[in-house]
């Protein structure tokens, strides 16, 4: 956590203070995504887990970058996850390239899964958010905790800050009054935390969605994944990791 504070203090021109709140309309955020691999596998297949647990890492880290303003944003992997030949864990849904247009309320997202690369074009994800009174500081910003329900069944815990006026977040998660800097989806045993927030000298004019892939809407993509993967515990996680 100390590391995050340090990084944040380099990037933030001013630290928090009474009445000195500043607001930023453009951001470049580095996220660290953590998958609790052991917990994930234990849930997917507890018998199998008992056998392979020594060959699984406790957690797996990957890195993402979010660049955007109040009009649009792009979220994508910033560096490739190091390959560990000995690990039984292979990342899932880790190469989504999410472009959100907040004015039009649409998303254009590239989602590679197995042999297919989908180019999802649909409205922004509809998430039922509940706000709580909990706050915590992430990357130097005070964030409020919100609990979201996605697809009516999937819980999303998000920490957003009022100080960044972009209403985005990791992957396709958005719709809160401020920028999401910390997020957890227990069903995927995954968290995303901002490690670095840059608010000056961020160019957002040239942000553009990915263009390659099979054009689908959310329903079509879901159907084509669901018909093959639904009877498979790992497959269900894959569907969710791809749909968010």
């Amino acid at each position: 956590m100390k590391k995050y504070f340090l990084l944040a203090s380099f990037c933030l021109p001013a630290l928090l203070g009474l009445g000195q709140a500043r607001f930023y309309n453009t951001v470049r955020i580095q996220y660290e995504k953590t998958v609790a691999v052991k917990a994930l596998y234990k849930e997917i297949a507890s018998d199998w887990y008992e056998r392979i647990k020594d060959q699984l890492p406790q957690s797996s880290l990957s890195y993402y970058e979010f660049v955007g303003d109040t009009a649009h944003s792009l979220y994508r992997q910033s560096k490739e996850t190091p390959y560990d030949p000995k690990s039984f864990y292979r990342p899932i849904g880790d190469n989504n390239v999410v472009y959100n247009d907040y004015r039009k309320g649409i998303t254009i997202s590239q989602k590679p899964i197995f042999e297919e690369t989908f180019l999802l074009q649909d409205s922004l994800l509809n998430i039922k958010w509940k706000l709580t009174g909990d706050t915590r500081i992430i990357a130097g910003f005070e964030c409020r905790k919100a609990v979201g329900i996605l697809f009516d069944t999937v819980a999303v815990f998000a920490f957003y800050t009022d100080e960044l006026t972009v209403t985005g977040g990791p992957e396709g998660i958005q719709g809160l009054p401020g920028m999401i800097l910390g997020m957890g989806i227990p069903r995927l045993h995954t968290t995303w935390f901002a490690t670095q927030v840059q608010v000056v000298d961020v160019k957002t004019q040239s942000l553009a969605p990915a263009t390659k892939g099979k054009k689908v809407d959310r329903q079509t993509m879901f159907k084509s994944l669901d018909k093959v993967l639904k009877d498979w515990e790992y497959g269900k996680k894959l569907i969710l990791a791809t749909m968010i």
Binding site: M1, L16, L18, G19, Q20, A21, F23, T34, A36, A39, R51, I52, Q55, Y83, P85, K86, I113, F114, E115, D122, N126, K128, W129, K130, L131, T132, G133, D134, R136, E142, R144, K145, A146, F151, D152, T153, F157, T161, D162, E163, T165, G175, L176, P177, G178, G182, M183, G184, T190, T191, F193, R218, Q219, F222, L225, K227, V228, L229, D231, I239
Partner: protein, 918 residues
């Protein structure tokens, strides 16, 4: 996921209903302290019921905001601004309202330091931010719940609604053994679990799920309670009983039981069968945890298990069985899984009776022999196997494993064989009758100690293994044979053998292996291995003939062998491995020095054989894209002659087929080339696989057969060049899952060239076979399914000695399987297997077998735990054991008995009691 589908669809098609009567609100946000308007403040409208976010806005430069499009109703208005306390107020809007909320004043946040009182005591421990109470230290009445226990714990209060306050903070989460207990209502756990089963109560600050995953806590004003149950409170059992009979000669019964108490697990099973060997299926074995004995190759990065070549598996069953088996498994882990123990015992008893026949055709250059043989046999095999495995994780880097297995096997059998050999004119060459009786015991003890050490440098690893085994064999057998030999169809001579044999063998093996992996770079690893193996064995086999008193005391030195053998080897291997996401390759080689010192105790001679074996290997594989890979492998293997090939134990159990040794055998060498391609498209469920391989054998060991005019075959191993074989397999499959047509094709080819010798003449035998199959299936769960799998194949072989003989034939057949749920939830299953072969000139027996099995099943009881099954096995009564082997100049057609047609009624009952279930 179905629910997710439905919900998702609703979401996708729902759009916000434009409401003509929608209301709007506006207002201004100010700072009470500095009396200035606040811009960028977040104004959110939440539902009053559950704080769901309805809409939000930001205040502008002048602190003014407006939120349009609100449906009429009761809301909560919340205003937030960094560094200020949240403002919240009720908001009620009427249809068509346009409300001005006026000025909303925000107050800066003031910090309140909270003190935490730490209590100590023998029953209370504080670890980091966790306070732990030992439940048994606090007295509660019998039948008390966890809630009653909490009421007596220091610092806890529980109100009438069951809400808990601990250390001045609200408890918002109750976990049982670190996991949520039936959702997040804390009272479910506290009011339903008995206090007696609680080991410890832990209280700590509530962390978000993210914190928990990351192990980092954030500030929080609520507490989480974790109730740790006593190990023995995690109890449960499950089992299965099954019994079936045809009210006549066939009965099958099976009982399985598994009980677990915490990490202790006990499984017991017993079976009896007259239709199979009674060995448990994979499913049952897995349930009982018997199949869990996998090993992981740390260096290679793959799993393996030693397949025990079992005399009691259904695969090797010939004849009619009468089988019993029983076993048990106990496992436990303790000390936080640092120590674990597995104990395993099983007993098998398999009695079989068999009537079989073998037809054999021997093709010589100038003539053809026919051998017809019929056997009647009966026997009983029994075995007791006890094994144990103990694992000790010494620390985070070192592990010690000890495993030990003891086996005791006995076998009694009696076989009567009648044989006749005919020449090409179908005139007798020889006829014979023989009876072999055998009584044997086998005792074996294997011990293995493995030490595994990891290092702080990632990837560096040392594994040392020590093995020690003891084997003792005792057997007695008797042979009575009467053979007549003919010349031109006229009896020429008779030979009678009446002998008793006593055998005894002892073997002691010590072995050690050390493997070391050194990561050279991120992607390169160097694996070095050294092993030493040392075996001392003695073998005594003495054959006695009858003396004048009819007792077997006269030694027959020709068929008596007594020797001791000392064999030892040193082996070193070095492999360089490269592993990356797309490309993987490895190459290296091994060298072993082997010495066999053979003392012949009968002749007091000593032979020393030295062999040097070399094993080069290389492998490369490349991932073309996701789920598509291509690879190539080369292996070079030395083929060392076996002791039997160098100096066989002279054996006259079948006086018409005699094996002799060849001490001049050279070491053979096998070059093996393999290539493969796999492509799996998961979303479109398409799978393509193919592979091909080619083996060239240098100095390969083949047989030199000498057949005398009486049809007696003497075989001797010799070295030969020019042997090779090849194979190709490929398949394509499309579709999978419920309500989808799945179909596929596969094609397999193989062939080769074998050189053998018959009566001094070289015989070059070429063979090839191909098989093509098509599969299709369709299933609707709980309703019906069917699958169809026709197959066509052809087998081709030729011998240079007999170009005139045609042993080529077609095979065709396949399977048809189906399931149908009949009215009244009666399940009908049917499967038919067609195995049809073209007759070849050598044999005129019917070679077509069609086996049709069917069953009707009905589940009974409210929880469907019982099931009646009526089985019809082999409806067409054609189930015969059959195998055909075409081997250079011999064509063999073998038949044996199998359980044929029967009708059986079986009842199955499964039961279970799991924790948390009543």
């Amino acid at each position: 996921m179905r629910k997710l589908t439905a919900v998702l669809l609703v979401f996708l098609f729902s759009c916000l209903a434009a409401n003509a009567q929608s209301a709007s609100i506006k207002g201004t946000i100010t700072d009470t302290l500095e009396k200035k308007n606040l811009s960028h403040a977040v104004i959110v409208v939440l539902t009053k019921k559950d704080s769901s976010l309805i809409s939000f806005a930001r205040s502008d430069n002048r602190g003014i905001f407006s939120i349009p499009g609100l449906a009429p109703g009761d809301y909560l208005l919340m205003v937030t601004y960094p560094g200020f306390a949240d403002y919240a107020d009720d908001l009620s809007v009427q249809p068509g309202d346009s409300r001005d909320l006026g000025v909303i004043a925000m107050t800066p946040k003031s910090k309140i330091l909270q003190e935490v009182v730490i209590r100590t005591g023998s029953a209370i421990r504080i670890k980091g931010d966790t306070t732990e109470f030992t439940a048994d230290s606090f007295h509660v009445k019998d039948g008390a719940t966890v809630e009653d226990l909490l009421k007596v714990l220091p610092g806890f209060t529980v109100n009438s609604k069951g809400e808990i306050t601990a250390q001045g903070k609200r408890v918002d989460k109750v976990l049982v053994d670190g996991e949520e207990f039936f959702g997040d209502d804390p009272t479910v756990a506290t009011q339903n679990l008995g206090a007696k089963i609680v080991d410890k109560v832990q209280i700590f600050d509530t962390k978000t799920d993210q914190d928990k995953l990351k192990g980092i806590g954030g500030g929080s004003d609520t507490k989480t309670l974790n109730i740790k149950l006593k190990e023995d409170a995690k109890k449960g059992y499950f089992g299965k009983l099954e019994a079936g009979t045809n009210l006549n000669q066939y009965t099958d019964a099976k009982a399985l039981f598994n009980r677990f108490v915490g990490k202790k697990k006990l499984s017991l099973y017993g079976t009896k069968s007259t239709t199979s060997t009674g060995s448990l299926g994979w499913d049952d074995r897995n349930k009982l945890g018997i199949e869990n004995d996998y090993e992981y190759d740390e260096i290679g990065g793959y799993y393996y298990s030693f397949g025990t070549n079992d005399d009691f598996s259904n695969w090797s069953l010939q004849g009619l069985p009468n089988a019993y088996s029983a076993g048990g498994l106990y496992s436990d882990k303790w000390n936080g899984d640092i120590n674990s123990l597995n104990l395993n015992y099983r007993y098998n008893r398999l009695g079989t009776t068999n009537v079989g026949s073998t037809l054999k055709q021997t093709l010589l250059q100038d003539t053809t022999f026919y051998n017809n043989e019929s056997t009647r046999s009966s026997g009983v095999k029994q075995q007791h196997v006890a094994s144990g495995k103990y694992d000790w994780k010494i620390d985070s880097l070192a592990t010690l494993t000890f495993r030990s297995t003891g086996t005791y096997k006995t076998s009694q059998s009696s076989t009567h064989t009648s044989s006749e050999a005919l020449d090409e004119n179908h005139q007798y060459v020889n006829t014979g009758d023989r009876t072999n009786d055998l009584n044997s015991t086998h005792k074996q003890l294997d011990n293995q100690l493995t030490y595994n050490q990891l290092f702080h440098k990632k990837g560096r690893q040392l594994i040392a293994t020590f093995k020690y085994s003891l084997v003792r064999d005792d057997n007695t057998s008797s042979l009575f044979s009467n053979n007549q030999f003919f010349k031109k169809g006229i009896l020429d001579s008779t030979s009678i053998t009446d002998q008793s044999k006593i055998g005894q063998g002892d073997s002691r093996t010590f072995g050690t292996k050390v493997t070391y992996n050194e990561p050279l770079t991120k992607f390169f690893n160097l694996v070095s291995e050294y092993s030493y193996n040392d075996n001392h064995s003695t073998s005594h086999l003495n054959t006695y003939e009858k003396d004048g008193d009819g007792k077997y005391t006269v030694l027959d030195p020709l068929y008596s062998n007594n020797f001791d053998l000392h064999a030892f080897s040193h082996t070193g291997t070095v492999t360089l491995r490269y592993l990356n996401k797309k490309l993987k390759y490895a190459f290296g080689g091994g060298l072993s020095a082997i010495q066999l010192r053979l003392n012949n105790l009968d002749h007091s001679t000593r032979n020393i054989y030295n062999f040097t074996n070399f094993t080069p290997q290389a492998q490369i594989s490349y991932n073309l894209k996701a789920q598509t890979s291509i690879g190539f492998r080369y292996n070079g293997t030395t083929r060392q002659p076996t002791l039997d090939q160098l100096q066989p134990i002279r054996n006259n159990n079948d006086p018409l087929n005699i094996q002799v040794g060849n001490p001049n055998l050279k070491v053979g060498f096998n070059h093996s080339f393999n290539a493969w391609y796999n492509s799996f498209k998961i979303l479109s469920s398409r799978y393509i696989y193919m592979g091909a391989g080619y083996n060239i054998l240098e100095h390969s060991i083949t047989t030199y057969n000498t057949i005398d005019s009486f049809g007696k075959v003497t075989s001797m191993p010799v070295n030969v060049n020019g042997n090779n074989n090849w194979y190709l397999y490929s398949g394509w499959q499309l579709g999978q899952g419920d309500k989808k047509l799945t179909h596929g094709m596969d094609l397999n080819l193989n062939g080769g060239r074998n050189v053998t010798f018959i009566n001094g003449q070289q015989s070059i035998n070429s063979y090839a076979s191909f098989e093509v199959g098509y599969r299709m299936g369709y299933s609707v769960q709980e309703k019906y399914n069917f699958s169809l799998n026709p197959q066509l194949g052809r087998s081709i072989s030729s011998s240079s000695l007999r170009k005139d003989v045609n042993n080529n034939y077609w095979t065709y057949g396949g399977q048809v399987n189906g399931f149908l749920m009949l009215p009244g939830k009666v399940e009908l299953n049917s499967d038919v297997n067609f195995d049809l072969r073209q007759k070849i000139s050598a044999f005129d027996r019917n070679t077509n077998i069609i086996v049709w099995n069917a069953s009707l099943g009905k589940k009974v009881f409210k929880d469907k735990s019982g099931k009646f099954i009526f089985t019809a096995n082999d409806l067409l009564n054609q189930n015969k054991g059959y195998s055909r082997i075409i081997n250079s100049n011999f064509v063999t057609d073998q038949r044996y008995q199998r359980v044929g047609q029967y009708f059986m009624l079986t009842f199955q009952w499964t039961f279970s009691q799991m924790p948390g279930k009543n």
